[in-house]
Subunit: 353 residues, 2 copies
Amino acid sequence: MSTSNKPVPRRSARGSSAGDERTGPVTLQQVAERAGVSPSTVSRILNGTAVVSDDKKKAVDDAIKELGFVPNPVARGLAGGRTLSVGVVTQAIDSPFYGGAHRGIEDTLLPAGYSPLFISGHWDDTAEARCIEVLRSRRVDGLIVLTGRMDDEALKGLARQLPIVVTGRDLSAPGVYSLNFDDLHGARLATEHLLSLGHKRIAFIGGDPLHPDSGKREQGYREALQAHGVAVDEALLQEGNYQEESGLQAIERLLASGVPFTAIFAANDQMAFGAALALHRRGLRVPHDVSLVGFDDVATSSFTVPPLSSVHQPVYELGRLAATAMLDLLAGRQPEAALPAPHIVVRESTAAI
Amino acid sequence: MSTSNKPVPRRSARGSSAGDERTGPVTLQQVAERAGVSPSTVSRILNGTAVVSDDKKKAVDDAIKELGFVPNPVARGLAGGRTLSVGVVTQAIDSPFYGGAHRGIEDTLLPAGYSPLFISGHWDDTAEARCIEVLRSRRVDGLIVLTGRMDDEALKGLARQLPIVVTGRDLSAPGVYSLNFDDLHGARLATEHLLSLGHKRIAFIGGDPLHPDSGKREQGYREALQAHGVAVDEALLQEGNYQEESGLQAIERLLASGVPFTAIFAANDQMAFGAALALHRRGLRVPHDVSLVGFDDVATSSFTVPPLSSVHQPVYELGRLAATAMLDLLAGRQPEAALPAPHIVVRESTAAI
DNA sequence: TTGTATGCGTTATCAA
DNA sequence: TTGATAACGCATACAA
């Protein structure tokens, strides 16, 4: 009546006595038995580690298909030291800007058999360090760092342990591949667009000064002005922090100061949205009274009222390229991805003076 | 001169002969040696699996601290069957709507020692099934499904294998916890807000009919109208797909049809943005000529021109609660999280007729 | 080309 | 309360 008391296997009884009632996932071992080969052979076929005879290969492939075998990444991670996962240190998992990059990364990693592991650093270097700890403890095979605050040296040190792709900076070191936007050029484009429309009194709303790209964008603004013989009026420069609210406040300050301007270049779209709202509240129309151009060209910018002219950043492409470069690094190839040059998308928020 | 040819350990030499030049992470084994106890004891202390004497516990704790030991989740996953990770099936990693939920999930899982594994289903049930396969192969301890297309039965089946928290539907089954917005009530609130402002010709832009919440929102609209003695005019209902463009087209169709209306209720904010743009293109002002209310209250809605009145969905809270419920399930507790009721945020896109 | 044996770092079983 | 010891599922060094 009662079951015998002989010791039972630790977990569920795989391939139990009667019938086919398999419980739990199929193992490589089972595939090997089914195909009549050794586990090593199956492993070799799976990883292309060695040449195996065609007939055995076929037998194994068949067994895999019949059994619906799927390798266990956890075991693979333990045994081979590879987890087929790559850590992605982003700044905010819900960032409207990096969102595109996240999608690009996911879209290219998944088909390659790798899984991205996203984690947010919140623009805080100690938080970033913690993220990296978590990721390393999970034995990710590589690291994609989307911009981030940690310094170059720390990154180089990390690169001795695992391959790294970093965006938002130029950094060349062994095991590191970097991908960078040309923020300077982009900002120049935005300013020149306004200039070409006849604007001379162009306000600038800067991004978070702690972000490296922020300075570049301001520099591009200054350079374009100077190149066109327009003196930069420091009263026209307002500091922001890349959030909508800061753009709104910047324009309110500017309006309150009484300094005249006919156009605004915001260092990102979110601040441009805030600026547009500030203008609207004062009864100023875009672009009739004030022209407005943003930076990043986030998804919603095509549908604001009016649609926002903006410097397009190929963020999705950035994600794809970063992931592709990581795949290259992981495969021992030298990545050669490069970002397309920025360009401006002219919509309805800018007009001739 | 040359190094000896005796067989070397498979990977790097841990705890090598001379000095302290440890390579690679510290292992539990090393902690055990250092503390003068067996590995099992260390494991027990780590997991609280059994009571251990205070002195040994202290010795182990010290060793852990001195060595900077950090358990290897991969090995844990293999041995114990727990990976301390939970899979999150979302619809788009860059969704402006679910973004808040992702953040909520991350914010609550990470401090608890769990890592979220995000993967996008793209509103496609076969893609969703693939996602779940990937997640299961990675041996996640639980699954959070943000809405999704897969049917209840499939979910119930899955729940026999691992705990599941699902949003966007009511589903009670063993191992499943569901969290649902009251879309019906929310839609009623939006419509009643418009009604209270004196509007009677209220257009409705529906969401993707394939989404379950879409029907609820339409139903709420209809019920509110009827409850207030306003006949619903089918000509006022336009179909959308939750994207901005579809909102724009819906209003263009409505305008072209010549059917009069003084207000619009869009089933989500993104379509409301499209609608606002369509209105703007025709020279119609919001809210002066047409009142507009959205649904979801996404982050950007506070900064559109004009700021959008919308039914607030506690998405971040949803993420937190889903993750909390998952933690409960994982710990063998019965979750009791419940979502707050929807409420409408009145901003500047609605006005009395 | 293939199989055997061993180890990856941890948890779980069992006996002490 | 504690310690051997055997898994977990796979990859690799080595022998054949």
